[in-house]
C-alpha cells in the first residue's frame, strides 16, 4: 500500500551516560510526507531528530543500539560517511543561528564544504532555495548584508534555505517556529507544505495545533517511547492510546 520508507528506525535505543533518552523506538518516515512529532518535554523528541543525522555523536556520553536505515542502509554503519549523511539529512534548529557572515555566505557555506565552487551553480542554488522559502523577493538585494540584520522570521527561513541549497532528501526541524510571530510561522509552514513534494519532513513541535494543521502524520512520544503514530486527522480526533488522548486534551504536558 505505501511506498518504501525513506527513513526506517528499528528498535533504536539512545542513552547519554546511564540515562536512557529513547527506548526501543521503531518509526518510519515516508517520502513526500510531513511527519510531526509531539509530546511533553523530555520525551526524547530532540534526541530522536539528532539521531537521524548523527549529531548526537558530538556528545561524549552518547551510546545507542538498534538501527536507523536511510534508503535501507544503516546510518550507524562503520563505513557510513557522516559528513555526506548530514547533507542528505538537513537540520533546522529551534533558534535561528545565522553564522556571522553575509546572507550569501551563509547560504553557500554548505556548498563550499561540499566542494562546489562554480559561481553560476552557487548563485542558481541560492536563488532556488530562497524562492522555495519565499525569501527571494525580500532579500535578493540584501545578499551581501550581514545575516544578523534580518528579522527573526527571515533568519529562520534563511536557516531553512541554508539547508535546502544542499538538496537534502530529508528535512528535520526542531521546533522551528518557537519564538516566531504568527506571520513568520505561517510563512514557514507554507514553505514546508510546498517542500514536502520533494522531501521527507520530520517536524518536532510543542504546539499541538501546529502539528494538527501542518502535518500528514503525527507521532506521539512520551518519556522516550513512541506511544502512537497515525494520520494526523485520525490521531487528533480518535487517538487509540489513552495516554495520547490525555496529552491532547491537556491533562499533562
Amino acid at each position: 500500500m505505501r511506498a518504501q520508507p525513506k527513513v526506517a528506525v528499528r528498535g533504536f535505543t539512545a542513552s547519554f551516560g546511564g540515562k536512557v533518552a529513547l527506548r526501543d523506538l521503531s518509526l518510519d518516515v515516508f517520502p513526500r510526507e510531513r511527519l510531526a512529532i509531539i509530546g511533553p518535554a523530555s520525551s526524547g523528541k530532540t534526541t530522536f531528530l539528532r539521531s537521524l543525522n548523527r549529531l548526537n555523536d558530538l556528545h561524549p556520553a552518547f551510546s545507542h543500539s538498534g538501527q536507523v536505515l536511510l534508503d535501507g542502509k544503516d546510518i550507524y554503519d562503520a563505513d557510513m560517511d557522516v559528513v555526506q549523511l548530514r547533507r542528505r539529512v538537513g537540520m533546522v534548529y529551534a533558534v535561528p543561528v545565522p553564522l556571522p557572515w553575509s546572507v550569501y555566505d551563509n547560504l553557500v557555506y554548505g556548498l563550499k564544504l561540499a566542494g562546489i565552487r562554480d559561481r553560476t551553480t552557487l548563485d542558481g542554488r541560492v536563488e532556488a532555495a530562497l524562492k522555495s522559502v519565499a525569501l527571494w523577493d525580500e532579500v535578493k538585494d540584501r545578499l551581501k548584508e550581514p545575516a544578523r540584520n534580518l528579522s527573526g522570521g527571515q533568519q529562520q527561513r534563511l536557516c531553512l534555505a541554508r539547508v535546502l541549497v544542499l538538496q537534502p532528501e530529508v528535512l528535520i526541524l526542531d521546533e522551528p517556529c518557537s519564538g516566531l510571530d504568527p506571520i513568520s510561522t505561517g510563512k514557514v509552514e507554507d514553505a514546508l507544505a510546498e517542500l514536502k513534494a520533494r522531501h521527507s519532513i520530520v517536524l518536532v513541535t510543542n504546539n499541538t495545533k501546529q502539528a494538527a494543521r501542518s502535518s500528514d502524520r503525527t507521532a506521539f512520544f512520551l518519556m522516550g517511547e513512541l506511544i502512537e503514530v497515525g494520520p494526523t486527522a485520525q490521531l487528533f480526533t480518535r487517538p487509540v492510546q489513552q495516554r495520547t488522548n490525555d496529552y491532547l486534551i491537556g491533562q499533562f504536558g
Binding site: N53, L55, L58, P60, V83, Q84, R86, R87, G90, M91, Y93, V95, V97, L99, P100, Y109, G110, L113, A114, C159, R162, V163, L166
Partner: protein, 279 residues
C-alpha cells in the same frame, strides 16, 4: 554627631574616588609626557639609523632597534603558532575534564612566574647547556617560553567565546571538524587571538631581565641569530643606570614607549573588532 545622609555621604565618596582616579591618570600621563618631553627632541632619523658610539654616549640606536625586532619578533613567531595550535587542540579536540583543568592551572601558574626566573632558565639551558651562548636565539626562545602560556590562555578564551551553536550548525551542514575550526571558529576568534599575540609582542619588547641574561648586551649590529644583541629596553636601562647619557636615555625611552603604545593601540583595536564579530 548625627549620621550624614546617604546622599551627602555619596557626594564625599564620589569626590574622593574621582580624586583617586585623577591622581592615577595624572601620574600615568605625567610619566609619558615627562619622558617624551625630554626625549623626543633628541630623536631624529639619524638617531634611529646610526650606531652608538662611546658605549652609547653619542650616536644612535640602530642596532638596538634591529636587535629588538629580531628578538621580540622571533619570540612571537615561535610562540604564536605553537600557542594557538595548542589552544585549538585544548578547546576543539579534547573533552573538558581533569586534564584540561590541570593544563589550564599550569598555564596560569607559568604565566605568573617572574620573568627573571625565565631568564635564569634561559641562561643555563639555552646559553650554556645548548651552547647557544648569549644570542638573539637564546633570548628569543626564552621569551617565547615566557609568553607561551599567555598566548595559549588568551587564544583559548577567544575560542571559547565563539558560540557553540555555530559549531553545531557547521557540522549540520556537513563539515569535518577541521573545516568547522578553520571556517567558523577561527574566523570569529581571530581578532581575539590576535589581541593576545600583539600584547605578547608588547611584553617581549618591554622585557629587560630576560634579555639581559640571555641575549647579552652587545652594541654591535647582530648579523645572525647567534650573535649577541642589545634590545631597546636593556639599552635604556644601561644608559640610565650607568649614567652614560641622559639625553640618549630619554630618547631611547621615547622610542620604546611610542612602540609599545602603538602595539597596545593595535591590540585594543583588534579586540573591538573581535567583540563586534562574536556578539
Amino acid at each position: 554627631m548625627t549620621r550624614p545622609s546617604p546622599v551627602a555621604l555619596q557626594r564625599v565618596v564620589v569626590v574622593a574616588l574621582w580624586s583617586l582616579a585623577t591622581m592615577t591618570i595624572g601620574v600615568l600621563l605625567f610619566i609619558i609626557v615627562y619622558i617624551l618631553a625630554h626625549g623626543l627632541p633628541h630623536v631624529s632619523w639619524g638617531f634611529l639609523t646610526q650606531s652608538p658610539e662611546y658605549m652609547g654616549r653619542k650616536g644612535g640606536i640602530f642596532p638596538m632597534v634591529v636587535g629588538t625586532v629580531m628578538v621580540a619578533g622571533l619570540a612571537v613567531l615561535v610562540a604564536a603558532p605553537i600557542g594557538v595550535a595548542t589552544a585549538i587542540y585544548l578547546t576543539e579536540y579534547t573533552r573538558e575534564g581533569r586534564m584540561t583543568a590541570m593544563i589550564r592551572f599550569g598555564a596560569d601558574c607559568l604565566a605568573g612566574i617572574p620573568s627573571i626566573v625565565f631568564g635564569l632558565f634561559g641562561f643555563v639551558f639555552f646559553a650554556i647547556t645548548l651552547h647557544l651562548g648569549l644570542s638573539v636565539i637564546s633570548g628569543a626562545l626564552t621569551l617565547a617560553l615566557m609568553v607561551l602560556p599567555t598566548v595559549v590562555r588568551t587564544s583559548e578564551e577567544a575560542l571559547r567565546a565563539v558560540p557553540s551553536a555555530y559549531r553545531e550548525v557547521s557540522y549540520g551542514l556537513g563539515s569535518t571538524r577541521w573545516q568547522m575550526v578553520t571556517h567558523v571558529v577561527l574566523h570569529s576568534a581571530l581578532p581575539g587571538i590576535s589581541t593576545g599575540v600583539v600584547l605578547s609582542l608588547g611584553r617581549c619588547v618591554s622585557e629587560t631581565a630576560v634579555v639581559m641574561l640571555t641575549a647579552g648586551s652587545a652594541l654591535r649590529l647582530p648579523h645572525s641569530l647567534f650573535d649577541s644583541s642589545r634590545t631597546l629596553a636593556l639599552h635604556f636601562y644601561m644608559l640610565s643606570r650607568e649614567g652614560i647619557s641622559m639625553p640618549n636615555a630619554y630618547a631611547t625611552a621615547s622610542v620604546l614607549i611610542i612602540a609599545i603604545l602603538a602595539l597596545n593601540m593595535l591590540a585594543y583595536w583588534l579586540m573591538r573588532r573581535f567583540v563586534a564579530k562574536v556578539r
